[in-house]
């Protein structure tokens, strides 16, 4: 009995010290999920995001207070001055360039646990070793779909807290789509509540956007006032993530039905609205009326986009999937 206890103890110690390859990648990702709402920290670093096919950089400061409050400040580059936050009840974002504060109710900084299962079901997560990020030891992990060898995500996780210190996201063609890297991170017990509140002031234009979830397709149809169609085809591995009502950001009364599918890492968004019922904004960069110089997420920046009309309903599908798959989804909505 004593011998058995010593043996088990030895294995545990060996595992903790890294002698045994106990830290399998899936285990690390699960731990990250469990721990994501347990730490409060302030980190600074750089983010890069894809815009018109180019990666634009910005210095950022990210503050997270457990369980679900956060604040992101963009300190340089085209995003300079932008603030994103969540006070635990509402998420908000403020852009000083437009003077617009958008408050979206009830979305937290946390990630639903059920999506983790989907992620691990559809992807291989492999541990490539350990390295140092932001002065801390970090696991280097790679995520690939089970259906291909294409890297979709690399991430570096703190070995002690499982906070993600660095991300690299790749699109379905293997191009780097965005990255964020913390150079410095400080863990703390708490931060002032004020930090997570949206800015106030007479010149700030406040807009509210609802992201109401509805439990069924029938309910969604009642809310938007037309029969909502679901695709007859989605690529293997994708599962229904939910039905929502999507309000137009320009504050017009236009509402769309939003159906979302996810494979745990990537998603397919299908928006449906009555044809001609939208605000029909002529704005939008990259159009003949608008600016060819402005910055708009294009097909290559945030996934493939296809829009079409059928029987009086406008459909917009956004997904980072192969264009042939997108065509199949589209065709399944036309049947």
């Amino acid at each position: 009995m004593i011998l058995l206890a010593v043996l088990v103890g030895g294995v545990v110690v060996a595992g903790r010290s890294g002698i045994l390859p106990r830290h399998d990648a899936s285990w690390i990702v699960r731990r990250a999920q469990e721990q994501s709402e347990r730490h409060s920290f302030s980190a600074s670093g750089q983010t890069r995001f894809s815009c018109q096919g180019r990666l634009l950089p910005s210095d950022v400061k990210f503050t997270h207070m457990r369980p679900n409050r956060c604040r992101i400040e963009y300190l340089s580059g085209p995003m300079k001055g932008v603030l994103i936050g969540n006070d635990g009840k509402n998420s908000w974002r403020f852009d000083p360039r437009t003077g617009r504060l958008v408050i979206s109710g009830n979305r937290s900084c946390g990630r639903p646990a059920d999506r983790l299962h989907l992620l691990l079901e559809n992807h291989n997560v492999s541990l490539e070793g350990k390295t140092r990020v932001a002065g801390r030891e970090a696991y280097r992990l790679v995520v690939r779909p089970k259906s291909s060898r294409q890297v979709r995500k690399r991430m570096w996780m703190d070995t002690r807290t499982f906070v993600i210190l660095r991300h690299e996201d790749y699109d379905s063609h293997g191009r780097l789509q965005s990255s964020t890297r913390f150079n410095r991170i400080l863990f703390a017990k708490s931060f002032p509540d004020k930090l997570f509140q949206p800015p106030t002031g007479p010149s700030i234009k406040v807009a509210k956007r609802a992201f109401d979830s509805v439990e069924s397709l029938d309910r969604l149809a009642k809310e938007v006032g037309f029969a909502v169609r679901v695709p007859g085809y989605v690529p293997a591995g994708y599962k229904l993530d939910g039905y929502r009502i999507h309000d137009c950001p320009c504050d017009c009364p236009h509402r769309s039905a939003y159906i979302r599918y996810s494979d745990g890492l990537s998603s397919i968004s299908i928006f449906e609205s009555k044809a001609g019922s939208g605000c029909q904004s002529k704005a939008g960069c990259g159009t003949s009326e608008g600016s060819k110089r402005a910055c708009e997420p294009k097909r290559s920046d945030r996934g493939e986009v296809v829009s079409f009309e059928n029987k009086g309903i406008s459909y917009v599908i956004v997904a980072d999937v192969d264009s042939r798959e997108l065509t199949k989804i589209r065709e399944s909505l036309l049947d």
């Binding site: 990250a32 750089q46 983010t47 995001f49 815009c51 990666l55 634009l56 950089p57 956060c70 992101i72 963009y74 340089s76 085209p78 932008v82 994103i84 974002r93 852009d95 360039r97 958008v102 990630r111 639903p112 999506r115 992620l119 995520v143 995500k153 993600i164 991300h167 996201d169 964020t180 992201f211 999507h246 320009c250 939003y258 979302r260 745990g264 890492l265 998603s267 968004s269 928006f271 029909q280 904004s281 002529k282 704005a283 939008g284 960069c285 990259g286 159009t287 009326e289 608008g290 600016s291 060819k292 110089r293 402005a294 910055c295 708009e296 997420p297 996934g303 986009v305 829009s307 917009v316």
Partner: protein, 163 residues
């Protein structure tokens, strides 16, 4: 520092994020490498577009300038040219014509690649919505995803006000 390394860091350099040796290395490389210089200029142009999103008109005289430069393309003189001046002059005209067509095709291609036929202006809000929800996914890089969202929203709002 080689071209690959410079191009990986040129975006940082363009917005003044680099200092010290990294900055000096890139500057010395740019002084010698016309290809990286061109990349840097392109990067600066992109940054300028974003900074001045409401300034939509191309510079006055741009197209005339392009046309003039094409028309002024020198044709290398040769003995044969002297002997067959008329023939080469015709060929030079053809060359200029082809160059004009090629340039026009290039401009049209770049314009139409921005105007993706399926991603019209009304799709912008949906792409933005897609990114917002993606930020809630497991392991999502919220910082980068929100950047794309805000840039899309900024464009939508500023251009909406302009038009």
């Amino acid at each position: 520092m080689n071209c690959c390394k410079v191009r990986n860091r040129i975006a940082d350099y363009a917005v003044g994020l680099l200092s010290g040796r990294a900055k000096a290395d890139i500057e010395s490389h740019l002084a010698e490498c016309p290809e990286c210089q061109a990349e840097y200029r392109l990067q600066e142009q992109v940054m300028l577009m974003i900074e001045e999103v409401d300034s939509l008109e191309p510079p006055v005289g741009l197209w005339n300038g392009v046309h003039n430069r094409i028309s002024a393309t020198p044709v290398h003189p040769s003995v044969w040219k002297q002997l067959k001046e008329g023939h080469y002059r015709r060929r030079a005209r053809w060359s200029v014509g082809f160059a004009t067509i090629a340039l026009t095709a290039l401009i049209l291609h770049s314009t139409t690649s921005i105007q993706h036929p399926t991603a019209g202006p009304e799709a912008l809000e949906y792409v933005q919505g897609h990114a917002i929800y993606a930020s809630q996914d497991v392991l999502a890089d919220q910082t980068a995803l929100y950047s794309a969202t805000v840039m899309a929203e900024r464009t939508h709002t500023l251009e909406g006000e302009t038009l």
